[in-house]
Symmetry: C2
Subunit: 120 residues, 2 copies
Amino acid sequence: MPKPLPLLEPLPTAADCCVPLAASPLSATDARELANRLKALADPARLRLLSMLLASENHEMCTCDLTGPLGLSQPTVSHHVKVLAAAGLVVGERRGTWTWYRVVPEALTGVARVLDPAGC
Amino acid sequence: MPKPLPLLEPLPTAADCCVPLAASPLSATDARELANRLKALADPARLRLLSMLLASENHEMCTCDLTGPLGLSQPTVSHHVKVLAAAGLVVGERRGTWTWYRVVPEALTGVARVLDPAGC
DNA sequence: AGTCAATATTGACAACTGTCGATCTCATCC
DNA sequence: GGATGAGATCGACAGTTGTCAATATTGACT
């Protein structure tokens, strides 16, 4: 359990696609793209992982601190963060031996906004 | 392509779970529940289906009007609307030979609100 | 009853996914 | 350099999922 270092740079911005679901019938490619992001979210372990990151002290955690609470093996946790990172929902940063992950809030907000028929 | 009848009753309300993702680490059961909803959303065909419903004239369509634009067989469309209905995201109503489906906007809004770390 | 049309269900199959053990990579410290 | 420890990757396996053809069900209309 290493001590978290203070972040040096602001959180990176994420591609936040903005094709509101309710505006017009989604094209096949837009639908595939949004589905990919939602697929990354649609897993209990990854949702818990995200919420743990968001609720953590410095809004970041290393893999070693995630395996225990999630009750999953280290390779499995590594797999999940990789899926989330590929979807742009988290970013990882290597500092020495550890890799620190944090959520990209803009990405989550983007997905939320696309979904909400009330327009948010 | 039958003519859509005017809706007689207001849209039904849906269970909108409200455990904000960012507030605290999600419990295993809460995560599973939210993941189930997201799994229902995380498919290109179902996303297109939802957006077609939302963008349609009377905010409802019958199965027969969905198969063509989606480019999927009738059983497959029937399968997808069933998944969406099981997740509470759409409701179907049989009128004569046809079944009319419409989105439950509250359900979508609920998911969007849970996801958004900005709190909406 | 009998026919027709829309929808739902079933069965089957290929593709994808979550999980873990084993192994590999890389940075740190002696 | 060698040892240690965190994390990533690989290979395998069970479970799930999207799809369709075939069939069943339901409602309308003679």
